[in-house]
């Protein structure tokens, strides 16, 4: 009779342990870079910054240099990668759930190309300046992602009998359309190609604490909403009609999750550009290992997605210094083999 209670306690321990492990790994990632910074120095800088330990006397500039590298560059970047990874992975998980389709992913639904399109428009028309610490390009990406996803959902809602198919197909169609427009604009405006290229490849190199706080808050709230509706989503997955019969307000839960997931994706994309694949492979990988219960999957997927992206970013920025391999390229290169391994292993 107690199995399930014990199971839940075990699961909480698992999540807590995993979270701790993630923290240790993130600290390890921070030590890596063109300048290696020993863990002891990281702890000292962090301790001083949080006024946990008294400030040590400067030993000729090294400390100060570490401080700047850590606080201004490296830690924000690792944290940003973690947040973006968690956002993309959990919203991918939610998209797959609400569309009852394992293929669903921000990219397929047009969200990512919408973001790139928005960024491109802003870059080409040379709208400068910033708003709440965000560049106009970020804002353009955010709006592009939101507008595209709403457009796709509206098209699908017009067709009641075949919503899911129409949704995926219109998402793919609009993606292609926008990608063509982006290519067209790039051809006509060769001078800003570099800037747009950044959006289509993905990067967290421009991370700042301001961005982390604003985007991070939105994403955390979003993931909270996902967790709030996790059991409803479980029930919807077993059949829409049966879910209604069990008292789930299918329409409402589905649209809340849909819009929240689009927002979370748009927030992530606005600071990172297009990073494909994380929303697809991370949730599937976690599902293959831990089963289908979204109440369990959400925390595990968030941590795994975050770790995956911050590790990937660390490798991307350290393997061929001073060059950086774009994040979008790294996620596909590292993610695909592991994903295929999981699929094959499961067959047996």
């Amino acid at each position: 009779m107690r199995e399930s209670t014990r199971g839940r306690r075990k699961f909480r321990l698992l999540v807590a342990g995993y979270g701790l492990l993630a923290l240790v790994i993130l600290m390890g990632l921070v030590t890596q870079g063109t300048v290696r910074i020993p863990l002891s120095d990281i702890i000292r800088v962090l301790g001083e910054e949080l006024s946990l330990i008294p400030s040590t006397l400067d030993d000729g500039g090294t400390q100060e240099a570490y401080r700047v590298i850590l606080l201004k560059l490296r830690i924000p970047r690792v944290v940003m990668a973690f947040i973006v990874g968690a956002a993309l992975a959990t919203s991918g998980l939610i998209f797959q759930g609400i569309f009852i389709n394992p293929m669903a992913e921000p990219y397929v639904l047009g969200v990512s190309s919408g973001a790139a399109f928005g960024a491109t428009v802003v870059a080409i028309f040379g709208i400068g300046g910033s708003f709440l610490g965000f560049s106009m390009v970020s804002l353009g990406a955010f709006l592009g992602a939101l507008l595209t996803s709403f457009l796709v959902f509206t098209i699908a809602q017009g067709n009641r009998s075949n919503q899911m198919t129409v949704l995926l197909l219109s998402g793919i169609a609009i993606s292609f359309f926008l990608s063509s427009l982006i290519s067209l604009m790039m051809t006509l405006n060769r001078d800003v190609i570099e800037n747009i290229f950044f959006w289509t490849m993905g990067s967290v190199s421009t991370a700042t604490w301001d961005k982390i706080f604003s985007v991070g808050t939105g994403i955390t709230l979003g993931i909270g909403i996902f967790i709030y509706y996790a059991q409803e989503l479980n029930i919807i997955l077993t059949g829409e009609d049966s879910a209604k019969a069990l008292g789930v307000n299918v329409k409402r839960v589905r649209s809340i999750l849909l819009y929240t997931a689009s927002l979370v994706t748009a927030l992530a994309v606005s600071v990172s550009g297009i990073i494909g694949f994380v929303g697809l492979i991370v949730p599937h990988g976690v599902r293959l290992l831990f089963g289908a219960d979204n109440r369990r999957l959400l925390p595990l997927t968030a941590i795994t997605g975050g770790l995956f992206l911050s590790i990937t970013d660390m490798i991307g920025r350290t393997v061929v210094p001073p060059m950086e391999i774009p994040l979008g390229v790294m996620t596909a290169l590292l993610g695909t083999p592991y994903f295929i391994y999981l699929l094959v292993r499961r067959k047996r």
Binding site: Y228, Q231, G247
Partner: protein, 264 residues
């Protein structure tokens, strides 16, 4: 009031169509008895599934009204309705890998507040339901790994865990072998007898409809052709009219049971 207490459903002038041109259900008015097994029969496309989806509010009628246990269907809150009616549909089954136990536990959803933990009572109800439908030993298995018949029994277990007053089943024995067909129908009878619940089920097999139902509703092109005691409804003439097929009804003198066989 007394008449209402005898009724699970009262349906007045119910019409429904998926689009404006073709009506699937046309002007149905009837009452379905409480505490009995009611079978819904009729040829493919006669509106059986559409009817039960209207009764369970999965679909909303274009015209007419439905009362459930004396209260208007539209007046129920979604969760409140889930405490009264449990349903098993013929659905495209999930490809997501839930364990049988977790799946049946979802039947307890309408009883739970947000973030309320499942307690020993819930677990007991789930195990009971699993036992009744003979799938207890599968409880830790993954749903997607089960056979069609096992899946069907798990879905029925989930509806039982919901402890409804009315149980609606869409072809509950469609994918089952002979042993489990009889088992499920006996279970249905037992539930009606012991717990006084009302069962409404779509059946294709006229023999089972004849032998297991207290009442049958015979649908033809979205209208009720006949309703009442199976012996009065499932007759050579009615079946000929509705199914355009000839049958013979034979009395087996040893068991004193009637058998319906297609004549060809």
């Amino acid at each position: 009031m007394n008449a209402l207490n005898q009724e699970a459903y009262r349906i007045s002038n119910l019409s429904f169509g998926y689009n404006d041109e073709v009506m699937i259900l046309e002007d149905i008015s009837t009452a379905l008895p409480r505490g009995k097994v009611t079978g819904i029969i009729g040829p493919n496309g006669s509106g059986k599934t559409t009817l039960i989806k209207n009764l369970s509010r999965v679909l909303s009628p274009d015209k007419g009204s439905i009362f459930v246990l004396g209260k208007a269907l539209t007046g129920y809150r979604q969760r409140e309705l889930a405490l009264v009616t449990g349903m098993v549909f013929q659905e495209k089954e999930t490809t997501f890998e839930f364990s049988v136990f977790d799946l049946v536990m979802m039947g307890r959803y309408p009883y739970k507040k947000k973030f309320e933990m499942e307690n020993d009572e819930d677990r007991l109800k789930v195990l009971e339901a699993l036992e009744k439908t003979d799938v207890l030993e599968l409880k830790d298995k993954c749903f997607t790994a089960l056979s069609g018949g096992e899946k069907q029994r798990v879905m029925i277990a989930r509806a039982l865990a919901q402890e409804p007053e009315i149980l609606i089943l869409d072809e509950p024995i469609a994918h089952l072998d002979l042993h489990h067909q009889v088992e499920i129908l006996n279970l249905v009878r037992r539930l009606v007898k012991e717990k006084q619940i009302s069962v409404l089920m779509i059946l294709h097999d006229l023999n089972f409809a004849y032998g297991f139902c207290d009442e049958v509703v015979l649908l033809k092109s979205g209208r009720i052709y006949k309703q009442g005691d199976p012996r009065q409804v499932i007759t050579k003439e009615n079946i000929k009219q509705v199914y355009e097929a000839d049958i013979d009804i034979i009395l087996d003198h040893r068991t004193n049971r009637h058998h319906i066989i297609p004549a060809y």
